[in-house]
């Protein structure tokens, strides 16, 4: 059984078919032998009669040749006589010569003994003929003739007796042949059915694991991965495929578990990060709120501007107006969309305040293409970049600092460039700033005003706002060579 299980599929199917064929073949051989044995018996039935007829004929021929010889002393007759004598002796050798408890065989014995006596007589006749003893061979010939007739009678009688017996046997054999025909047909049919059942049974045994496998594969295709492993009963190709299927199913389940766990872990991490960010922003807001009430500051600044106007201090009034405008923008537009025009206005306010504070230590120039000023942009986009140029670019310069803002249209893009001639940036630092790993200090007290928004923050908001279609570059040839921040915004967005 173990050996059968470890057989290959090809061997199993082959042995199955060969087994069925062998069964049918064996039965056919048995059937053929049966029919052949009956045929042989039918052939044998009249063999005895044929043999006796042959004996009778040979005896007749011998008698005839003897008579011819006695009459003519012919050499040919003599030769034929001896030939017949030998033939007769050969035939007599096939007859029973023993005393047995059987009338037919006793009759054979009588025929044989009488024939041998007859042959002795004929030999004496020939001897007497050669010796010219007429009286003796005449007497012997008469006796031989009577004995020959007796032998013929015995042969005929036995032949008749045997024919009657053989006829009965022949009838019996024919009857058996007919009965056998029916039996053999039934047996052949039964064996064919049995062989068919064997083939069906064995095939179902071979095919069943394959059906189970197909059913399980359908279940998997339908999405049902939670099923029990298929039993592996054999070591053939189907057994191997079943085992591989079981392993594959187990692997798929394991991978799905791992992916699910990873997703959960990532989600958990993200939630934690968002929570931290939210807490931080909340803290900052509360901090700013705790520092000053902006409306109180605007009102105060407005009151101071009116006072300066009444006192005729125009410069002071202008400073206070710009400062008030700067903070108002911060408060109102910090979380809303705005236009490039408003952003440029905010930069003007910031520059005015910075000029009052730092005097002519720097020069600000702007080159604006008015046709692109109406495009919507996220608020607080330009001012942090100008503030950044102050903070890291020109603040520590011995020579006069220079900041240039240009807004232009080029090939369907709006190009916004903030350039300074300040301390410049190394490539590492540019990379760090672009990747968000480097944050400017938002609480720099030396700056006139600061909204605490860094370059990375601007860059991220632009990316989100323009759905990743805007570009943000920081160009610098190294320390002391100045820095340019170049933003390119697709004008198509504006048209849309």
């Amino acid at each position: 059984m173990k050996k059968l299980r470890s057989m290959s599929l090809q061997k199993k199917i082959t042995s199955n078919v060969v087994g069925a064929l062998l069964i049918v073949l064996a039965v056919n051989i048995v059937m053929m032998r049966v029919l052949s044995s009956i045929n042989l018996k039918i052939e044998e039935v009249y063999t005895g009669n044929v043999r006796l007829n042959e004996l009778d004929d040979t005896l007749g021929s011998l008698e005839s040749n003897l008579e011819t010889y006695v009459r003519t002393k012919s050499s040919d007759a003599m030769e034929s006589y001896f030939r017949d004598e030998q033939a007769l002796r050969d035939l007599l050798g096939g007859l029973n010569g023993q005393a047995v408890d059987d009338p037919e065989l006793i009759a054979e014995k009588n025929i044989r003994s009488l024939s041998e006596t007859y042959l002795d007589l004929t030999a004496q006749i020939i001897q007497a003929k050669r010796g010219r003893n007429v009286q003796k061979y005449a007497e012997l010939a008469e006796e031989a003739s009577a004995l020959g007739n007796t032998i013929h009678v015995y042969i005929d009688s036995l032949n008749n007796e045997r024919f009657q017996v053989n006829s009965a046997t022949f009838g019996q054999l024919i009857g058996r042949w007919r009965a056998q025909e029916g039996t053999l047909q039934f047996v052949l049919l039964a064996v064919m059915v049995a062989a068919l059942l064997v083939v069906i049974f064995m095939t179902s045994l071979i095919i069943k694991p394959l059906k189970d496998l197909a059913s399980a594969a359908n279940e998997v295709a339908a999405g049902n991965l939670e099923q029990e492993a298929l039993p592996v009963r054999t070591r053939d190709e189907i057994g191997i495929v079943t085992e591989a299927f079981n392993q594959m199913l187990e692997s798929i389940r394991r991978y799905i578990r791992q992916i699910r766990e990873n997703l959960l872990r990532e989600q958990e991490l993200r939630e934690r990060e968002l929570l931290m960010e939210s807490h931080l922003k909340d803290a900052r807001l509360k901090y700013l709120q705790a520092q000053i009430d902006p409306h109180f500051l605007f009102n105060t600044l407005n009151a101071a501007a009116q006072l300066a106007m009444m006192e005729g201090a125009e410069k002071t009034e202008e400073l206070l107006d710009n400062t008030a405008a700067f903070f108002r923008y911060n408060v109102r537009r910090n979380d809303k969309d705005t236009t490039l025009r408003d952003e440029v206005g905010l930069v003007d306010n910031f520059i005015f305040i910075s000029k009052v504070r730092f005097g002519d230590t720097f020069v600000f120039e702007k080159n604006i293409d008015e046709s692109v000023l109406n495009i919507p942009v996220p608020s607080m986009m330009l001012q942090p970049l100008i503030e950044n140029s102050f903070k890291y670019g020109i603040r520590d310069l011995v020579r006069q600092g220079r900041i240039e803002l240009s807004v232009s249209r080029r090939d369907g893009w709006a190009e916004i460039s903030v350039w300074d001639n300040g301390s410049g940036m190394t490539e590492e630092r540019i990379a760090a700033v672009l990747s968000g790993q480097w944050e400017s200090a938002s609480d720099d007290r030396d700056l006139p005003v600061s909204n605490g928004v860094g370059i990375w923050n601007v860059m991220e908001r632009l990316r989100l706002y323009f759905d990743g279609k805007s570009t943000f570059e920081i160009n610098s040839d190294g320390p002391g060579t100045g820095t340019e921040i170049l933003i390119r915004i697709p004008l198509r967005t504006e048209e849309e």
Partner: protein
């Protein structure tokens, strides 16, 4: 379990198929298997009469022969040609049989043939009728004088004091044969002794068996004639049947007392009915056994008893009824 049942069913089906073939293909019974080799081959030759009596003798001899591992053949039966006793004796000699049982008589040719056969080393036993002058080894039969005495006693009882009567004895062989003479001597002496002054005429006649229906013709002629005997004695079974049938045919039952031969059912039945007055019964089985035993003794010792007597009895109506009743009971 299910698989084992299915496999078992298929196997059983196959076994049934094979068994059916084997069962239906049993070889034909070989006739030769039931036979056995014998040491010797004896033949029984009768005087051409294939009667029930001789058939019983043969069956008994055959059974006795098989007990001694000898096959006894009813010689000449089953042949397409009928041979006379002497021809059969000659053929038996030419066939080199091992022993011959023959119903002989005092015929010179027969005696000469027996002598030749004996001289060739084949033992010969005569049965029922002897060839005393020959070299035969033994004779198995009844004492003919005693048979005559038995008949005589029966005749005396039948005459019942009647002083005149005619008795006709039909000889089995030739008239004037030694056996017939002995039988007649026995009858006459008994009558002379029992009825010294009576005038009972005891005649003897023989049937010339020129054809197989000679006996029937003889008895028919006898009963047609006016010279019917008072008592008719038949010494063979076929003659007995012919005699009582002729008596019936010619309405002579009762006018002639017929003493028959042999105790077959037919004859006993006629005795019981009174058609036959009595019948002489000789033990056929004993005769068959004695013939084979005589030949076996000769082979065993080189000689044997020259005469083996058989027992005999006259059966009347009462005894015939008893015997027939016994047979019915046995059946």
């Amino acid at each position: 379990m299910k698989k084992i049942i299915i496999a078992g069913t298929i196997a059983a089906l196959l076994m049934l198929g094979i068994a059916a073939i084997v069962f239906r293909t049993r070889p034909l019974e070989d006739r030769n298997e039931s036979m056995s080799a014998c040491d010797r081959h004896y033949v029984l030759i009768t005087n051409g009469e294939n009667s029930e009596f001789w058939d019983r003798v043969y069956q008994s001899a055959k059974a006795e022969g098989l007990a001694h591992n000898v096959y006894v053949e009813m010689f000449g039966s089953g042949l397409s040609m009928t041979y006379s006793r002497d021809e059969l004796l000659k053929i038996a000699r030419q066939a080199s049989v091992d022993g011959i049982i023959v119903e002989a008589d005092e015929d010179a040719t027969t005696g000469k043939l027996i002598d030749e056969i004996v001289n060739e080393g084949i033992p010969v036993v005569t049965a029922m009728r002897d060839c005393y002058s020959s070299l035969r080894q033994s004779f198995v039969g009844v004492n003919h004088y005693d048979t005559g005495v038995l008949y005589g006693q029966k005749i005396v009882s039948l005459l019942d004091g009647k002083q005149e009567a005619r008795v006709l004895v039909i000889a089995e062989g030739k008239a004037g044969d030694v056996h017939e003479n002995l039988v007649l001597l026995g009858i006459r002496e008994t009558l002379a002794k029992e009825m010294p002054n009576c005038h009972v005429q005891v005649d003897s006649d023989s049937i010339s068996r020129t054809s197989s229906f000679a006996e029937e013709e003889y008895y028919n002629t006898l009963f047609m004639g006016e010279d019917l005997p008072d008592i008719l004695i038949c010494q063979d079974a076929v003659g007995t049947i012919c005699a009582y049938q002729s008596a019936v045919d010619h309405n002579q039952v009762g006018s002639v007392d017929i003493i028959g031969f042999y105790d077959s059912d037919t004859i006993l039945s006629e005795v019981q009915k009174g058609v036959l007055t009595a019948t002489l019964s000789i033990d056929a089985e004993q005769a068959g056994r004695a013939c084979v035993d005589a030949l076996e003794d000769y082979y065993a010792y080189g000689y044997t008893n020259e005469y083996n007597a058989l027992s005999m009895a006259l059966i009347g109506a009462d005894r015939a009824e008893e015997l027939l009743t016994e047979e019915v009971t046995e059946e």
